[in-house]
Assembly symmetry: C2
Homo-oligomer: 116 residues x 2
DNA sequence: GCAAACGTCCAATGATTCTTGAACAATCAT
DNA sequence: ATGATTGTTCAAGAATCATTGGACGTTTGC
């Protein structure tokens, strides 16, 4: 694998890039998992996209400042840059994660209360 | 002008559509102005894009659930659907608006502490 | 060195998005 | 009805994004 990739600093984060990154369901899912389960290798997310495509999505998350990628052996460990995001855009990531959780339980809201 | 356009209900709002809508600087600027100055006519935002292009951006905001468009005479009045957004995705719009305000004051952060 | 495991980089393709201009529609004033 | 105002709709082009396959680089193990 190539060298360690570039990571922007918090004061370089662009709101447009962050929102674009989070607007994609695959990328949002990855961010969600990282927030729940902590650091993980790229291959953990192999089910969400092909190898190449996953690399593309991870690069977008990285360039937006949302994730950090750290080489370890022949793997690359992914982690959420929650604190950096919080420093730059307070409350934003938290709100998006909460909204994503909330949306999952969207199906069926008003209708047929029935008995169950 | 055609009939009154379609507006989705809060339980139909999609997080991806909302984040996509807010990821564009022009659309975010419009949302920002609406949040600060209340209801306004489309033409108020004529400086941000051409007539046709503006109509396109406003349609995206509308379909995402972010704005309501109401015909009044020969104008169309725009307003932010803040409460509907808050009901569907609590804290999200507030966080984005705060982030947008914050970003504006980004230029020059760490450098030349000097004496002032 | 050679092969397998894990990912990245590049070029190409298909799908969306953004932007524009021309034509159309509704309202207001004369 | 005529014309000006205010926006929408349609078709088309430019730009960007998403996805894929093939080649390549790095680490691990024989």
């Amino acid at each position: 694998m190539p060298k360690s990739p570039r990571h922007p600093q918090p004061n370089q984060f662009a709101l447009s890039a962050v929102l674009e990154a989070l607007s994609d369901p695959i990328r949002r899912k990855i961010v969600q998992q990282l927030s729940q389960q902590g650091e993980r290798s790229c291959s953990t997310f192999g089910a969400y996209a092909s190898k190449t495509n996953l690399s593309y999505h991870l690069a977008r998350l990285r360039l937006a400042g949302l994730v950090r990628i750290r080489p370890e052996g022949r793997r690359r460990m992914l982690s959420l840059r929650y604190d950096d995001m919080e420093a730059r855009f307070p409350g934003l990531l938290r709100a998006v994660l909460a909204s994503a959780r909330n949306e999952r339980s969207k199906i069926k809201t008003s209708e047929a209360p029935g008995r169950g």
